[in-house]
């Protein structure tokens, strides 16, 4: 298998899906002439023309709503919202329209569309450009929320998203775009609602998604090499629908868990994971599940403050060491 970057695999997948189905088109700010703020759509305007790679003005509510309407007539829009933060301006069309139209009208019109958007902090983009709002969208029935951590998953899940008949929020991460990984050839798809054990372990489980899942995997692998603890890593991948079974099974095995998330701790994704596990795996838990999340502060620009606010490798290692069943292992 070839080693491909996250950015490249997204670009390839969009191209392939556009070739496969003429109803698939791209829409968003600066995705054409500018080739995307993060170059995910590089070359696609040249290849497919302005009909299928649509540069929009800065009107998130307007063009996201347009995508919903186009989907109602059977097109398959793939919308790029330049960064996750700007979705705040389009939420009405997502919450009250995209997610409700199929149900509210008694199942007469599916809304097959994808919203791609990169989230995440760590590049000194300040408070309004560094947010992780995935918990909001995972809360909404009618939506599906996907957050891959590897190029392979990005390929398989983006294909599934584009072919799915319902609205999908496909969450990317600024700091993942340059990550490389092996990617299966061909028409590779991954069903929604399947978490993945990316590393087996027996002492404890780290549950994560998107960029933090990639970091968790590195940390766990290092712990193994340095034969410290045996850490299992579960990549949620799909926040809605959520794969409770895979999570529960891992806890039944390890009895201990950490949720590693980049969003704000309170009312974040980790809260749901913890609640789910204590409901379904209560008797298997040897210790409280820890949440390792970012500090609850509007992310500051100043580098030292930003570093202190965002959770990372150090916080995860400390949590693993604190939670590890030392005595039992003697």
């Amino acid at each position: 298998m070839a080693e491909i970057s996250f950015r490249q695999v997204l670009n390839d997948t969009l191209r392939e899906e556009m070739h496969r189905d003429e109803n698939v088109f791209l829409m968003g700010e600066e995705i054409g002439v500018f080739e995307g703020s993060y170059k995910i759509t590089a070359g696609l305007l040249k290849e497919f023309g302005a009909k299928r790679v649509v540069d929009t003005p800065i009107a998130e509510n307007g063009f996201v709503g347009m995508a919903v309407g186009a989907a109602m007539l059977g097109l398959r829009p793939v919308v790029e919202i330049m960064t996750f933060n700007f979705i705040a301006l389009a939420i009405d069309e997502i919450l009250n329209h995209a997610a409700k139209i199929y149900y509210m009208f008694g199942g007469q019109t599916p809304v097959p569309m994808v919203i791609r958007t990169p989230g995440g902090g760590g590049q000194q983009l300040s408070a309004t450009h560094s947010q992780n709002l995935e918990a909001w969208f995972a809360h909404i029935p009618g939506l599906q929320v996907i957050a891959p951590s590897t190029p392979a998953d990005a390929k398989g899940l983006l294909r599934t998203a584009i072919r799915n008949n319902n609205p999908v929020l496909f969450l990317e991460h600024l700091a993942l775009y340059n990550n490389k990984g092996e990617v299966p050839e061909g028409d590779y798809t991954i069903p929604f609602g399947q978490a993945k054990v990316t590393k087996e372990g027996k002492d404890l489980t780290v549950i994560s998604y998107s960029r933090k899942a990639a970091i968790a995997h590195e940390v766990a692998s290092r712990f193994e090499r340095e034969n410290k603890l045996s850490v299992e890593v579960v990549d949620i991948r799909s926040l809605r629908p959520l794969d409770r079974e895979t999570l529960v099974n891992s806890i039944k095995k390890t009895g201990r868990a950490i949720v590693f998330e980049e969003d704000w701790r309170s009312y974040g994704v980790g809260a749901e994971i913890v609640a789910t596990l204590q409901e379904d795996a209560f008797d298997y838990l040897d210790a409280p599940i820890k949440r390792v999340a970012s500090l609850e502060v509007p992310l500051p620009y100043s580098k030292p403050l930003e570093l202190a606010a965002l959770t990372g490798v150090q916080e995860l290692e400390d949590a693993i060491n604190a939670l590890a069943p030392r005595r039992r292992r003697r």
């Binding site: 003005p57 709503g65 309407g69 059977g74 199929y102 509210m104 007469q108 097959p112 008949n165």
Partner: protein, 354 residues
């Protein structure tokens, strides 16, 4: 039809402000059609009166917004469209659904929350829908339908087919971002869409000219160099003709058009609104514009119908409405087991190429 020359020589779209004028009917109109418009207007009127009654009997719940007073606008709007054109509306859409061809029965059944309703009882009064009749929804978030309609027009242009989308909205909706963003998008992409403002002069208790910096709402088109026109919403033929002109431009030139029909809301914002905030004199004047008797007079004077004919229509309409209520009463509620259906469309439902 630009903002400069929106007055037409035959004055059909001229604004009648206070006095209700009886224009003699033009020669070229055929009798059947004109009588049909009358009976449609009457059907909407009676249907809405019945809706209020059923609401007060607690057969209908939630919010219930009526087209009372707007019948000429509603009928003219639908008469100006082709069968394949798409319609998006706000929550004040019973009349549009009926004039679009959805039977009064299935509309009433929807208001009753029954499985036989046009949205299977899931939507209710504010969310009527029918793929078959190309009514792509009544929406209750003010302005929410406008970007959707713009996107539907985008899909038509993308496919190169020749339908037009018409997006209805109220006067109060034209002060919101979704309205302005959509007009700009429709213009830069040259989309086949008509933005149709029903200026019933109120957004709940807010007078249209208090919430908007410009009292003539069609003038907002100037910010987008958009063809814009204002028409007398109490004149069914003027509305129909303006709509035809607009739809022709949208279809033929792929130019969006902004149309404003000046109408009047006879009652409160919704059935539960006691309507205490409007000046009595004004309401009296507004109701004096009643488009239905006005049009009846025109038909009588043109000898296109006689009193008996009007009575027959009255009876037909009453029957149709009673039928609708009976049908709605007798229809079953959706089964509880179906509660979780339709949250997600299955993979096999290849979303229809409409």
């Amino acid at each position: 039809m630009s903002t400069e020359q929106q007055k037409r020589p035959d004055e059909r779209d001229a604004i009648v402000k206070s006095i209700s004028r009886v224009v003699t009917l033009p020669e070229d109109e055929d009798q059947e059609t004109l009588v049909h418009y009358y009976s449609q207007m009457l059907l909407v009127r009676r249907f809405e009166e019945k809706s209020a009654e059923m609401y007060n009997k607690a057969r209908i719940g939630g919010y219930c917004h009526l087209n009372l007073g707007e019948e000429a606008t509603v009928v003219g709007f639908c008469a100006g469209l082709g069968p394949k054109d798409y319609v998006y509306t706000n929550y004040r859409e019973h009349g549009y659904a009926i004039c679009r061809g959805i039977s009064a029965k299935t509309v009433m059944a929807e208001l009753f929350g029954k499985e036989t309703g046009c949205s299977r009882g899931r939507g209710g009064s504010m969310h009527l829908f029918s793929v078959e009749h190309r009514l792509l929804g009544g929406y209750a978030i003010v302005g929410g339908q406008i970007p959707l309609a713009t996107g539907a027009a985008f899909a038509i242009a993308y496919r190169g087919s020749d339908e037009v989308v018409v997006c209805q909205m109220g006067d109060g909706t034209t002060n919101g971002g979704p309205f302005f963003e959509s007009l700009n998008l429709a213009k830069i992409y040259k989309l086949p869409i008509v933005f149709f403002i029903v200026n019933n002069q109120y957004g709940m208790g807010m007078p249209a000219d208090k919430g908007s910096a410009v009292p003539e709402l069609y003038r907002k088109g100037c910010a987008f160099d958009m063809l814009s026109e204002r028409v007398d919403g109490n004149n069914v033929l003027a509305v129909r003709d303006a709509m035809r002109r607009a739809v022709n431009v949208a279809r033929g030139q792929h130019e969006p058009v902004l149309l404003e029909a000046v109408s009047y809301r006879f009652k409160g914002h919704s059935v539960i609104d006691p309507d205490r905030y409007r000046n009595e004199e004004e309401v009296k004047q507004g109701r004096a514009q009643d488009p239905i008797p006005t049009f009846a007079r025109r038909l009588l004077e043109a000898h296109l119908i006689d009193e008996q004919g009007l009575d027959r229509i009255e009876q037909q309409v009453e029957r149709e409405v009673e039928e609708a209520v009976r049908f709605a009463e007798e229809s079953p509620f959706p089964p509880i087991e179906s509660l979780m259906d339709y949250i997600y469309a299955p993979d096999n439902v290849e979303s229809e190429r409409r």
